[in-house]
Assembly symmetry: C2
Homo-oligomer: 479 residues x 2
């Protein structure tokens, strides 16, 4: 019992004490009938006045959680449960509701990513030192807010932003118009809108076997079924065989795929586009890493092949400027974009006007391009460093490809060692990894490393420890 | 044929010409077999070089939309349709998908609200001159962005914002902790998350007969059924009779209800809370207008009665600072808040970091309170003015209550004149109204007026014209 109330602006000491007692009773720490310490003892222990303890105890009695037995003192009520259980059966509501919870490993990752003292070896996010914090702050000083812009948004997002995106997308060889663009709060929201607005329950979502989509589930939660698609096969046949008469969509990250970091070959892009055209299947192309290719390459999106309105193309600034802006976009046929805009208006009434104004400023002022150039240099340095570390510690137990851009190295271990047990064991050492099984269920051979987040020192420390732990595991198995 | 291509940064002339031809053919303006004008004539008409026309025509031929007959000229292809119809059957996808579209009147309202030349008599939004644009711009200059803050958000939103909200909510007599708060992108998103994360399909959502929820449909689209709840009845009995064994939630705006503008009596609040407690039904309390009561009153949220974790309370800055910020909050039991945070992370990875930083600054610096004070004065002046206009023009055909806060006057006409035909007729005069049937299906007696948006001049002009049109209708019916 080392808890004590602390000074909080929004919660009095006695309320904190009531909550603490209630929680202890609710979770079974204090059992019915147990005798309470005296008020004097509690006052001493909590370092508060006796009158505070008294107020708390009286309220707890009024709530039926404590009871006084004359001459014997105060006790946890014999039957406090009904009082604790008046609240709606929230857990029952949660279990029965529509949306799937994140799988436990991902919930743990989300939680531990908030902690300062953790080495994050797999995080799909730029390190604080790679974020253009200072430039963003400076640009805030230059932003002009037309009054209309801070009112409710136009359904498709600010026109100025959509116009500047037309120019911007031109660099990826995409020619489009503001009417064909919807501004979203990050690419993930685009998936959500597509799931709700374009697909019916039971639709199929074709994807690569190792897929970012398996680590989130906007489609699964909306009642869609994920199906692996092998690019090596005859695609038309493969799609047709599985699809039969069901509606379907193909999800792909052809440039700097997440988690594998690979680019699709041009042949693969053409094959998938032609197959989808033939079978009237829309393609959802996720290009959030597309601008992070280290070399000036000609790897262009599938969208550039699209003369028939089959491809919904998504991008965002989350991997380039900052995920905190929550700005992304979808490019597609006008009817589809209008439909998605209508759903977006029903979902959150548009994206932050401030964020839209800042991104417009960055795209039109040249800040974006300048920052991107520097960022790619930093990322490539980090990629090289991480690969050197892998060469040292992992060469004999794993393989990988040299990164050509983006954030990730998809490391393959010969033995199936990347298990939940390993995830938890390294977490005890304050190291967070993204195991392959998040992206490909039941795959215990892969690890998604990210060189975007951890510092050089953290990479070194983290990877050394990880190598040591895995090698120990392997030895244990041999012996 | 008065169209011509215009200089656009992102689209060449010949691409514009191709698109224009394609659209004309697709929509049936140009019929199969029709002869095209000569290239010379087209060049003249479009004010472009002949080579531009030539490039466009060649591509249209390659696409199978035009065909050349030797010696006779160029014609629209006899069978262009298959070429136009290769794209996926988007409309079919849209029709079959999960989310309901907005009803047509609301889609029209959303669209026309974007136009500069429209008088908006019903808009639920502050007029540009009531938005603190200048102060917002000034405050942007003071914002400090810690790097972590512009990374991916903590699942429940920035801690600093949640802490400042604890103090802020205290003014509405709500005592809570940062752990019990989820930051959302406006209250509408809260509904969406609750629909997906706490309710199962087929759940009932009890609401007032005239309800804001009927004008959006986060719950209906998620498969929930809306049920009217009469506060005059025996609530326990009414809930029980309809609910039977189905899961349910009660939605309410007890302070400055939308659309009626009314406050619930304290008795009604206690009755609903006690009834829900008895039946273990959660209450969703929408308090987005709560701070806009003109008089310092003691009208407090139902949440202040809640000792048992039944009430999910939502608020936002959309009606006070600016809807463009997209910041709102939900207050509830910790387990529920964590669940909603998990779904939010899966939906859009959190709200804009910039918007969160700005709102934190406004709440902690006193800017918010100062602005709110001035805003209420302006709103009350506008309310008085609108009521004077109503006294002049509507006294003999309608009734209403003097507004006590918020944005709205819920006008009741003796005759059922507020029809879709009237909506469209006044729209022709560039006046946008929010008919009662948006909030209460098949109610043609009510009109939701808003004094928050239109200028004094617009109110006068708009209401005079509206009165004239309605009176004409009434006369026509008598004669």
């Amino acid at each position: 019992m080392d808890w004590k109330p602390v000074k909080q602006q929004y919660k009095t000491y006695h309320q904190q004490i009531i909550d603490w007692f209630t929680e202890r009773i609710a979770c079974g720490d204090f059992l019915p009938g147990m005798k309470c310490p005296t008020q004097r003892a509690l006052a001493l222990q909590f370092e508060v006045n006796r009158s505070t303890i008294n107020t708390a105890m009286e309220e707890l009695k009024a709530n039926g959680l404590l009871e006084t037995r004359v001459g014997a003192g105060t006790f946890i009520a014999e039957n406090p449960w009904p009082h604790l259980l008046v609240h709606p059966k929230w857990q029952q509501h949660i279990n029965a509701s529509i949306h799937k919870p994140n799988i436990e490993t991902i919930q743990l990752i989300n939680d531990y990513e908030q902690r300062e003292d953790i080495i994050r070896l797999g995080t799909g996010e730029l390190a604080p030192e790679l974020l253009p914090t200072k430039q963003l702050e400076d640009s805030l000083k230059l932003i002009k807010l037309p009054s209309r812009a801070i009112g409710y948004s136009e359904p498709q997002g600010h026109l100025a932003l959509r116009e500047s995106l037309c120019n911007h997308l031109h660099k990826r060889d995409i020619d489009t118009t503001p009417d064909n663009i919807l501004i979203v709060s990050g690419a993930l929201q685009a998936f959500q809108l597509i799931a709700l607005g374009l697909l019916e329950r039971g639709s199929l979502v074709f994807q690569q076997p190792a897929s970012y989509l398996n680590s989130i589930h906007p489609f699964q939660s909306a009642g869609m079924q994920m199906v692996d698609l092998d690019l090596q096969s005859n695609i038309v046949e493969a799609l047709q065989r599985t699809k039969k008469n069901r509606p379907a969509i193909v999800y792909s990250i052809p440039t700097l795929d997440n988690p594998t970091g690979r680019n699709w070959s041009q042949t693969d892009k053409v094959s998938i586009y032609e197959a989808c055209k033939k079978l009237s299947i829309p393609i959802l192309e996720d290009d959030v890493y597309g601008e992070l290719q280290f070399e000036e390459s000609n790897e262009l999106p599938i969208k550039t092949l699209d003369t028939t309105g089959h491809v919904l193309y998504t991008g965002s600034v989350s991997k380039t400027i900052s995920p905190g802006l929550r700005i992304g976009w979808v490019v597609g046929p006008k009817t589809v974009i209008q439909r998605l805009a209508d759903i977006k208006m029903q979902t959150d009434y548009g994206s932050s006007a401030l964020s839209q104004a800042v991104v417009t400023h960055w795209l039109t002022s040249g800040l974006y391009d300048q920052h991107l150039k520097n960022l790619k240099v930093s990322l490539q340095q980090r990629a090289r460093y991480m690969e050197q570390l892998l060469e040292c510690d992992f060469k004999d137990i794993a393989t990988w490809e040299t990164p050509i851009g983006g954030f990730y190295i998809w490391v393959r271990f010969e033995q199936p060692v990347i298990t939940k047990a390993l995830f938890l064991a390294v977490l005890e050492h304050k190291i967070l990894i993204n195991p392959g099984y998040i992206y490909q269920p039941n795959d215990f051979h892969h690890l998604r490393l990210s060189y975007a987040y951890a510092s050089f020192e953290q990479m070194e420390k983290g990877l050394q420890l990880l190598a040591k732990m895995i090698k120990k595991l392997l030895l244990a198995e041999i012996s």
